[in-house]
Structures are given as C-alpha cells and as structure tokens.
C-alpha cells in the first residue's frame, strides 16, 4: 500500500490533483494511511499461532509422576581440550595439549537445612605420552601431565535466623573486580597455564571456618583459615617457565590465619571492609625454599550503580611484605583499583579496570627481584562479552596489559562458546601473549589456539 502511494505521488498527472481542495486531499491521505495501518495490524496479529504448546507433552508427565525432590545430587562435566601452540620451541610447539578432564560435584541436603557439597576434578594430558615423556622436564610432568584435585568440600547451614556457618574447603571472593585482584586475597590461584584456565577452576579453595552474622543491611563475616596453600605457578621447563632450574618448594605452615569482612548492601550501592593477617602469596626465597611470611591486610571495596553504569573501586594496604633481595626489611604496599562496567547494550557487558600497586619506601634493589618489582606497577583489563542467538553463542574478549602506558606486556584472549545441545557445548579461542617486560618476553611466543567440547550431566 505504501508502494502504491509512492507510485501515485510519482505519476506525472498528480499535479492536476492539486486543484482538489485541501480537505479532500487530506481525507484521501487519511484513508490510505488507515488502510496501511489496518493491513499491518492484521499482518501482525497473524503472527500468533494456535498450535498447542510442545511443553504440555513435557510438563504433564512430570506432574503426574509426582516426582519427589531428591535430597542429593550428583552432577559432572566431561571435557576434551586440544591446544595448538605457535611456539617454535619443541616440545611445546604444534599440538601442545590434548587434555581429558572430569569434574564431579556431589551435594547433599539434610532435613535441618544444612548442606554438604564437594567436588573434585581429575585430568590427564595425553600429549606427553604421544610426543614422548622424555622430552619434558620432571617438574612439568609432575604438575601438568595428570592431576586429581579436591576442590570444594564444605558443610554449610544456618545456626539461627541471623547466623550462617560454612566449614571446610571453600572459595571466598573478596572485592568487586572480575579481572584484577586487589582485595581478593583469600584463595590462591592456578597460574600454571596463564590465560588458559577456566574461571571456575582458577581460584583454589582453602579450608576455613566462616561465619556470617546479619544485622539489617549489614553482614559481619569472621573467618579462620586453617589451610595455608599458595598459588600454583608454571613448573620449570614448561612453556611458561623456560628456566630449567626447579622452582623451590613452598615452606609449609600449619597456623591459623584470621580474616574479617564487614559488608553493607543498599539500594544502588554497596560497600565492604576487609582485614586479614594472611601469608603473602608471592613470597620470597629463603634457605632454598619459598617463604610466605604473614602480612597484615586492610581493604575496602565499593560498588555504585548509576543508570547502565556500575562503578567499582577497591583499595588494599599490605604491611609486612618481604622480598628475596632485601630480607631484613619489611615493606608496605598500597593497591588501588577503579573499574567501570557498562550494561547499556542489550546482551552485552563491557568492563574496564585499572589498578596501581605502589610500594612504600621503595628500594632500588627490588628492581633485581626474580619477578620484576617496580615502585609503581599498573595493570589494565578490558573485557567485552556478548550473547547471540538467545545465548547459544557467547563471544568474549579480554585483554590484560601491564604498565602505565600499557607497554609492559600482558595477554589478550578471544573465545567463542557455543551450546551445541542441552548440556553439550564447545569453546574455540585464541590467546596472544605480548612481550614488553622480562616477565612477558619469556613467554610471548606461546600464542595458542584452543578448542574444547564439554558434556555436562
């Protein structure tokens, strides 16, 4: 109808119609417009289908069977992953990983509302056998060929209306940022393959007793960490630690470290205060081992919501840090983060975080630390995640760069996750490691593409 109207207006003899009265012309236009509207409305209404829903077939038998909810569940995930490395250095070139992994998760709910949860992951990387185990360092084989790891194992429940407890191996996330750790200090990380570890496996649980006490909008969370474990770093001789010398073992600690979080949650904003006396995760060389002396940590984190923007900030102060090159002196460091998250584009999340770590009373000798330690170090992280095809396809991009000018190395990772069917999904992605500092120059030719397929049950 619109096309007809356009043809009508384009015809040569339309000028004759200008002799018509204005009212007639407007009336004609009104009639044409109402016809157009009526047609588009009818077209739109035809879009409803009257076919019976498919769900009725699915839904009715469920209610008829009156399935009683079980008080336990066992779920799992089976994953096959292949990684292809662009590295020129054998044996870490070409296909560098062919990993099969199984995650099992068990949950039991008790009648009194308490819940026991545990999960464990086992993996085996067949590439070491295929390419010849003799080509790899002993440390790498020990760390990366196979592993069985107990992750969570805790009992949780409410002791009263205002008091919860959670006892056992668990992950407690402090802070607001998803990309840079400032106040998130309680759990060590699995850094053995930087940029390649799934976020659910990244934090390593530690055994602790955690209590949450609630008063109004506030939550008081005292904790006692009874298991002292430290981040897993790339083993010597592996692609991410070419140094053939074995990394010293960590000293073992059996003490209890206290931690406290106080958080308030309000409409449009929230705030947390943190305090902890914990073992420094990085540590320093001492008598052939890695020592992790206790440090005092105080911090805060804030979220402020403004329209489609979420402003995040974190601040942490550490007191009592020791470094390998200057062991007779304790250092203080203050870390700060500002972050923005934008949610104004449908099905898309964009975030940018920037952090600075400043060492007080800096000593020039720290420049010679094994891990380059500057007076001020900067880190930037930019992330975009978008869902397509009703979230069957998820596209993600993350770039993490160090240096005030973003010129001291880092990595970028882009990956797609596709839901092939219910419970079956595939990932394909690429990781690019960028040089610019001693730390990243050593691993900058480890760029790789990876793909995996997972089945959850």
């Amino acid at each position: 109808m619109v096309q007809l109207m356009m043809v009508y207006l384009q015809q040569e003899d339309w000028k004759k119609d200008f002799n018509m009265s204005h009212s007639k012309l407007l009336l004609s236009f009104l009639l044409i417009l109402s016809a157009v509207q009526a047609e588009s409305l009818d077209d739109a209404l035809d879009g409803f289908d009257d076919e019976p829903s498919k769900l009725i077939e699915v839904h009715v038998p469920i209610s008829q069977n009156e399935i009683v909810e079980k008080n336990y569940s066992l779920t799992g995930k089976l994953t096959e992953q292949v990684a292809f490395s662009y590295s020129d250095d054998a044996p870490h070139d070409n296909i560098s990983s062919l990993k099969s992994s199984l995650l099992l998760d068990y949950e039991h709910k008790f009648d009194n509302g308490f819940r026991f949860k545990t999960n464990a992951k086992a993996y085996y990387d067949a590439i070491y056998s295929i390419r010849g185990r003799e080509k790899y360092s002993k440390d790498e084989l020990n760390e990366l060929e196979s592993e069985v790891e107990l992750f969570d194992a805790y009992l949780e429940g409410s002791l009263s209306d205002n008091l919860d407890m959670k006892l056992g191996r668990q992950v407690v996330v402090w802070g607001r940022s998803d990309t840079i750790r400032i106040t998130d200090v309680l759990n060590p990380l699995d850094n053995r393959r930087p940029g390649m570890v799934d976020i659910e496996d990244l934090r390593l649980p530690v055994a602790m007793a955690k209590f949450d006490y609630f008063i109004g909008d506030w939550r008081f969370t005292p904790m006692a960490v009874v298991e002292q474990r430290f981040s897993k770093n790339p083993p010597s001789g592996s692609a991410f630690n070419p140094n053939p010398q074995s990394t010293p073992n960590n000293k073992s600690y059996s003490d209890i470290t206290p931690a406290l979080s106080i958080g308030g949650e309000f409409s449009g904003w929230d705030i947390n205060f943190y305090a902890s006396q914990l073992h420094d995760d990085i540590g320093y060389f001492d008598a052939g081992k890695m020592a992790h002396d206790k440090v005092n940590m105080f911090g805060t984190a804030v979220n402020i919501l403004q329209g489609s923007w979420l402003l995040k900030s974190e601040l942490a102060h550490f007191d009592g840090l020791k470094y390998s090159s200057i062991q007779n002196k304790d250092f203080k460091r203050t870390d700060a983060l500002l972050g923005l998250e934008y949610n104004g584009i449908p099905d898309t999340l964009i975030s940018y975080d920037v952090a600075v770590r400043a060492i007080h009373d800096y000593d020039q000798r720290l420049k010679h630390e094994p891990l380059e330690t500057k007076e001020r170090s900067y880190q930037h992280a930019f992330r975009v995640s978008s869902d397509f095809l009703n979230a069957t396809l998820k596209a993600n991009y993350l770039i993490s760069l160090f240096g005030s000018q973003m010129n001291e190395g880092g990595f970028q990772r882009a990956w797609l996750k596709y839901d092939i069917a219910d419970g079956i999904f595939a990932n394909v992605g690429v990781v690019d490691y960028m040089g610019g500092s001693r730390r990243f120059d050593a691993v900058s030719n480890n760029d790789m593409i990876f793909t995996d397929i997972s089945y959850t049950f």
């Binding site: 995930k77 659910e200 329209g307 949610n343 099905d347």
Partner: protein, 266 residues
C-alpha cells in the same frame, strides 16, 4: 509554489494525524489501570519449566524455582535455576521499585564466579537467560510512561477482549525496554493481558501468548505461556514457560529475597 504549499500542508496534516494516534485515550487508560490494579496475590511461589526452541527446532530446557512478594508498592522476586547442570545454582534477585525515578536493584549469583554480582538495571531489553523474555518482561510497567489507545474490540479463544496499543512517552522508556510500542489484548471478564505483540526497535516482533490460565481465590494465574520472536512471518526463536506447584499468598520469608539466599541456593 502552490505545490510546495500543499505538500507542506500535507506534512502538517500527517504530523497532526500521527500526534493524534499517539495521544492518550481515556477509555484505554482506564482499562489498563484495571489491568494494573488486578489482584495478582501478595506472594507467589512456583516451579517454572522453560523450553527454548530455536528456528531449527533445537530445544533446550531450564528448570527454575521462583518466589515473588509484594512489598507495599514495590515487589521482590527471586529465581533459582535447578537444571541443567551447567546453569544449576545460578540465581537472580530483583527489587522492582514502583518509583519510576529510582533504578531497580538486581543481583545475579553465578556459581562459576562464586560471588553475587550487582547488575545495572537501566537497560532491561537483554534476554533473560537466553529466553525470548527480557528482564523488562519480568517487571511491572509504569502506566505513566505510556500513551494508550483502544484499537478495537475483539475475541480471543472465545472470550471478549479489548485490543489496546501502548506507546512509550519518551525515548528513555524505548531504550530501556527495547519496545517501540505494544499491542495488548485484554480479556474483558478478568482484565488479564492474554496476548501481546511487542514491536522491537530492530524491526522484530515478540508475541506473548498466555495459552492456559486459571483462577484461584479470585486471582488469575498463568499455567502456560509462550513468547515468540519473529521477523516478518519467520519465527526466529520461541520460549515456552510452564508453571506448576503454585502456592498463592503463602508465607514467604523475607530472607528469600536477599543476596545471602542467592549464595546459599535452594
């Protein structure tokens, strides 16, 4: 010159006509006020089965538990995903404020991150967990944000109904919802919107169809509804939501609507 003048008048006429179409209609507004004021219970607890069907017929299912509670003019809602395993224990909490000048509060618990995340709520046009329902579809509309027009009287599944067009009064509402306008079909006997066509800003349409409803103690409850996204006549994606184990006006502890509960799960 004369031709230009007439074209100008034609333009003015079309503008007036369009303005008239968008003006508020008292009858339509009264109907929509009754829709808004309809008793939907003080609390509602129910199981939800979500079936997601893509254009090739590939199906995915989501099993949820939902709790809702009126808090004066505001409302609180919590949803827990029970299955499949890859989304199990994901939970969503929203505080829907009646005051239009105040942004809703929303939180999402993602088991992979092991923490509760606050979500900006201004843009509500994003898909809710991959379904054809958006976050906006899960919250109440503020009538003051819209102009209403009674298009005609009609029948749906044998019931007399009104067909009412609602047009956002400003771009902010369009941006927030993603809808340029909505045509709702309201049953005359119970003031339930049983069908609606949402016109998206990208030219697509979303068809809401309440396939099955029933009355319980004077409150109309949905047993099954679909939301179908179409481009022209082509179906792009469809979501079927079915409800069971419904408890209306039961006692629901306020603790269900807290981030504490999101972390603990069902």
């Amino acid at each position: 010159m004369k031709a230009k003048k007439i074209l100008f008048l034609l333009g003015v006429g079309a503008t007036l006509l369009t303005s008239n179409l968008m003006a508020d209609d008292a009858t339509a507004r009264t109907i929509m006020e009754k829709v808004d004021a309809r008793d939907d219970g003080q609390t509602l607890e129910q199981d939800m089965l979500m079936l997601l069907i893509d254009k090739n017929g590939k199906e995915r299912t989501r099993d949820l538990k939902s709790y809702g509670k009126d808090k004066g003019e505001d409302s609180h809602r919590t949803m827990f995903f029970k299955s499949p395993a890859d989304v199990k224990n994901t939970a969503f909490l929203t505080y829907d404020y009646d005051d239009a000048s105040k942004d809703d509060d929303q939180w999402l618990y993602l088991p992979a991150l092991k923490k509760v995340k606050r979500i900006p709520s201004t843009d509500k046009s994003s898909s809710f967990m991959g379904s054809d329902f958006s976050y906006f579809d899960m919250t109440d509309r503020d009538l003051e944000d819209y102009d209403f027009k009674l298009i005609k009287e009609t029948k749906v599944r044998g019931h007399d109904a009104w067909m009412i067009e609602s047009t956002p009064r400003n771009q902010k509402v369009i941006d927030e919802s993603g809808y340029e306008k909505t045509i709702a079909i309201v049953r005359k006997d119970n003031y339930v919107v049983v069908r609606a066509i949402n016109f998206l800003t990208n030219g697509k349409k979303k068809y809401l169809d309440l396939k099955k409803i029933h009355e319980e103690n004077g409150v109309w409850l949905v047993d099954e509804m679909t939301m179908t996204t179409k481009k022209g006549t082509r179906t792009l994606h469809k979501t079927v939501l079915s409800f069971s184990n419904v408890t209306l006006n039961g006692s629901i502890d306020d603790g269900v609507f807290t981030t504490r509960r999101l972390e603990k799960g069902l």
